[in-house]
């Protein structure tokens, strides 16, 4: 078990290294440079450009920059973000909590809604309501995610005034407990917009798994033992969690793409925006640092999902 875990972590490290070096190279190959700041404003002379690039070593060949970057990272230094005028580490520290909050709440919300709902739908697959919910779930999945988010901004936030338009807290709003509530208030719509498609997928997967499981022999055994409907359902659910947990592992990688759109629309001060803007601004160290953190998060999340998968299905002995 421990060896498998270590091997898994080793694989994770390889994945992270591959992701970071790919992004590192890709963004440096894209035209434009970090010191090009504004669309039409006075442009710098070639000499100024060269001086700036040289000051940060961007005039060196990419492999050399990469080796330097690796050395830098090894010594805990992530570089300087040009587009945000702050150290990359500070930028990540400032945006990571917001994104973690958003993703965590959205994930909990998604699976908290999706799994019970899907389990119910699967157990009562013949119920007309279950079929109706399934239809709704497919529609939610089919609607482009940004439209859902925009609708949330237009409807509940702007037209009905129930929620703030964007951002993470009210400018000069309350502090302390009130501040916390304020954050929750701001969080509600983006988290929901991020969670809905995931919840729909989770519900459909859970529904299918539950539907397949409910007639399994071991569920019959639960009844034959003297278990009631609840116990049977519990036994079925325990075994039917596997596909949903597999999905949860992949979901995290997808969620990073999702937050890019959601954070943009809701002006949420998180890493999705940081990465998006970093790419647009050709902020090399920021993108590399952001991708590093994002891939660490993804790898850890996948690992977590795998552990949960082992729990749900002990037959998956080896951590693949």
């Amino acid at each position: 078990m421990r060896r498998a875990l270590l091997a898994r972590l080793g694989h994770g490290a390889i994945v992270i290294a591959l992701v970071v070096s790919a992004c590192f190279t890709l963004i440096r190959l894209a035209p434009g440079d970090p010191f090009f700041r504004d669309l039409d404003a006075a442009r710098l002379t070639t000499a100024q450009r060269e001086a700036q690039r040289a000051a940060f070593g961007y005039d060196r060949p990419i492999p050399e920059q990469f080796v330097r970057y690796v050395g830098q990272v090894a010594s805990g230094e992530l570089g300087w973000s040009h587009s945000r005028s702050q150290p990359v580490a500070d930028a990540l520290a400032a945006t990571l909590p917001a994104t973690l909050l958003l993703i965590t709440v959205a994930t909990l919300l998604a699976f908290g809604i999706g799994v019970p709902l899907g389990a119910w739908m699967g157990w009562h697959a013949e119920h007309p309501l279950a079929r109706a919910v399934d239809r709704v779930a497919v529609i939610v999945l089919a609607v482009p995610d940004y439209l859902l988010a925009l609708l949330a901004v237009m409807g509940p936030a702007l037209a009905w005034g129930l929620f703030p338009i964007g951002g993470m807290r009210t400018e000069f709003g309350p502090r302390g407990l009130g501040g916390l509530l304020d954050v929750v208030h701001h969080l509600a719509l983006p988290a929901l917009a991020l969670a809905l498609p995931v919840a729909a997928t989770a519900a459909r997967l859970q529904c299918a798994a539950m539907r397949a499981t409910r007639d399994h022999a071991f569920v019959r055994t639960a009844r034959a033992k003297g278990g009631d409907d609840r116990l049977a359902r519990r036994h079925a659910l325990r075994a039917a969690l596997v596909p949903v947990l597999s999905f949860a592992g992949v979901h995290l990688a997808v969620a990073v793409s999702g937050v890019v759109v959601i954070e943009r629309i809701f002006a949420w001060p998180g890493m999705g925006r940081l990465l998006f803007e970093g790419v647009l601004a050709r902020d090399y160290p920021l993108v590399a640092g952001g991708v590093l953190v994002a891939s660490i998060g993804t790898v850890l999340g996948t690992l977590l999902a795998d552990l949960a998968l082992r729990w749900a299905d002990p037959r998956q002995q080896a951590l693949r």
Partner: protein, 553 residues
């Protein structure tokens, strides 16, 4: 949907309360400015964006500032700031500034002449990448005569000498002189700048928000609003919605549909003002892949004129802006001192382009109606910046109109960085360019000058080069008489318009949205924030929670 003229709608608005008092009373609430762009960088030597200018000019005072009539020539149009007074040398090649004795940095240190020297040094350090560097090439050096006297030496006499000096913001030498070369951007100072302006930086979350607090003991008096906050929403729709929802107070430039929408929000006041930006389609005079060679098509003035004639700019502008933009007359906006509204544009004409192109041998037609010559279609590649929704939309309309003239316009829409790289590399046939002008004619020099002189032609994407144009501008700047200067510049405008260096598209007439609880002074079109310190709350309007005076200093 019948659309009433938006301009008529705006005219029907109650006139702005004239309030020209420069200082507002203390405690004039909190102004939240909603914006899509991060102000960074916002130090005077390195600022680039409009929001960056806004923050830098609230944080730092210049030596002198251009006055309300926006005349950049000579000295009549300038008002003192950190410099209480100035004196010309007999040969007019130097100006000696005497600093205001009350002027202090936010940390309490006096502003000294050395700070002026530091200000120029930071601009001149190439590794700082100051966009101002190209604007102040006529300054030779700055000498600190004594603690409160700084003398600026110029290479040559020019109508805009004082304007050049106004671009050099004194910077606190006691904090910055120890910086290594190119170290301004990464310095601790850039994170926590110490300025001399009416506001100090209180808080900054990059790309999210920035909060400025009033400097209580400012040498020009305490500014009105206690706090000015910028809240940044990457999606403009969200940013504008914040103003509708009273989460923010100001949006500087509303798109026309939102001007209509604003009427649904009674707390929003619309403020129309004169624009300082213009948009054009510049022709590339050089071959896209080889800047040494002339462009195979567009180097021919007849083609440029034909393409210009083929565009119905009035229709295009109405489609894009309703009535909230003027057709552009040349490389200037109407609010400029040098503006010349008598210039006759190359008229829209459906027949003339066909005749010209026929005579040039573009007689064949593809199935889609695109003209052919020797089997090759008449195709142009347009570089369009994706971040500018207006220019993307304009490109689609231009594409459609040129298609009718048998010209195939391929829209190459790129994100800012890639757009910049392609534009600077001359990799395009036409480029949808834009330019935020200033009162001075420096923009004219750098955007359309040939680059034969220092500071000229830096922005000249299409590499238009006209000796007549250059010499007219140079003559104008050399004159000491503002009227002569203006006449020469106007003559230069006529030259470049006749040359059809670009299709002059539009100059928008911006409309700002501002919360009604503020009583506004006159809206400075080129820099509306300059009067922000004199905003005050309307005592009749209900204040919002955020207007309560902040408890922490």
């Amino acid at each position: 949907m019948t659309r009433r003229s938006l301009r008529a709608l705006l005219l029907a608005l109650p006139l702005l309360t004239a309030c020209d008092r420069l200082r507002g009373p203390a405690g004039a609430g909190t102004v939240i400015v909603s914006t899509a762009a991060d102000p960074d960088p916002f130090l005077p030597p390195t600022r680039t964006s409009v929001t960056g200018r806004m923050v830098s000019e609230l944080l730092f005072d210049p030596l002198v500032e251009i006055g309300a009539d926006l005349n950049p020539f000579g000295e009549a149009g300038f008002v003192p700031r950190l410099a209480a007074s100035w004196r010309w040398s007999p040969d007019s090649l130097a100006v000696t500034f005497t600093l205001d004795p009350k002027a202090r940095w936010h940390d309490g240190t006096s502003v000294t002449a050395r700070d002026v020297v530091t200000g120029l040094a930071l601009i001149r350090d190439p590794a700082n990448g100051s966009p101002v560097a190209g604007e102040v090439v006529d300054i030779d050096s700055i000498v600190a005569v004594d603690a409160r006297t700084a003398r600026v030496h110029f290479h040559e006499r020019s109508a805009e000498q004082l304007y050049s000096a106004s671009l050099v913001y004194p910077m606190p030498s006691h904090l910055l002189d120890s910086l290594p070369a190119g170290g301004l951007a990464t310095s601790a100072f850039a994170q926590r700048p110490v300025g001399s302006g009416p506001y100090r930086l209180v808080e900054r979350e990059p790309k999210v928000r920035l909060v400025l607090g009033a400097v209580e003991d400012h040498y020009r008096g305490r500014p009105g609003p206690d706090r000015i906050a910028l809240t940044i929403s990457p999606d403009p729709a969200t940013g504008i919605a914040k103003v509708w929802a009273e989460e923010a107070d100001v949006w500087e430039l509303l798109p026309p549909p939102d001007v209509t929408a604003a009427t649904a929000y009674p707390q929003v006041r619309l403020v129309p003002y004169n624009g300082w930006d213009y948009t054009f389609v510049a022709f590339n005079f050089r071959a896209p892949n080889d800047t040494a060679a002339a462009h195979p098509l567009l180097a021919d003035p007849a083609v440029r004129v034909a393409l210009t004639q083929a565009l119905d700019r009035t229709g295009l502008i109405r489609a894009l802006f309703d009535s909230l933009a003027h057709p552009l007359l040349g490389p200037f906006v109407r609010a400029q001192f040098t503006a010349d509204t008598t210039i006759a544009p190359i008229p829209f004409d459906t027949l003339a382009p066909a005749r010209t192109l026929d005579s040039l041998g573009w007689t064949g037609r593809t199935r889609d109606g695109i003209r052919l010559r020797d089997g090759r279609p008449l195709r142009l590649r347009a570089l369009v910046p994706a971040p500018s929704a207006n220019r993307v939309r304009a490109a689609v309309l231009v594409q459609e109109q040129w298609r009718r003239a048998g010209v195939d316009l391929v829209i190459d829409k790129r994100e800012a960085q890639a757009f910049g790289a392609a534009r600077d590399g001359g990799d395009f046939d036409v480029v949808f360019g834009g330019w935020g002008t200033t009162p001075s004619v420096r923009g004219l020099r750098s955007t359309w000058g040939s680059g034969a002189r220092a500071g000229w032609g830096r922005q000249n994407s299409g590499r238009y080069a006209s000796a007549i144009f250059d010499s007219l501008v140079a003559d104008g700047l050399a004159s000491a008489d503002p009227v002569v200067t203006r006449d020469r510049i106007r003559a230069a405008y006529r030259v470049i318009v006749a040359d059809a260096a670009a299709v002059w598209l539009y100059e928008p007439m911006p409309v700002a949205a501002v919360h009604r609880r503020f009583l506004l002074p006159t809206w400075r079109p080129e820099a509306w924030w300059r009067t922000l310190p004199s905003w005050r709350l309307d005592p009749e309007a209900p204040a919002l929670a955020r207007d309560a005076r902040p408890t922490a200093p």
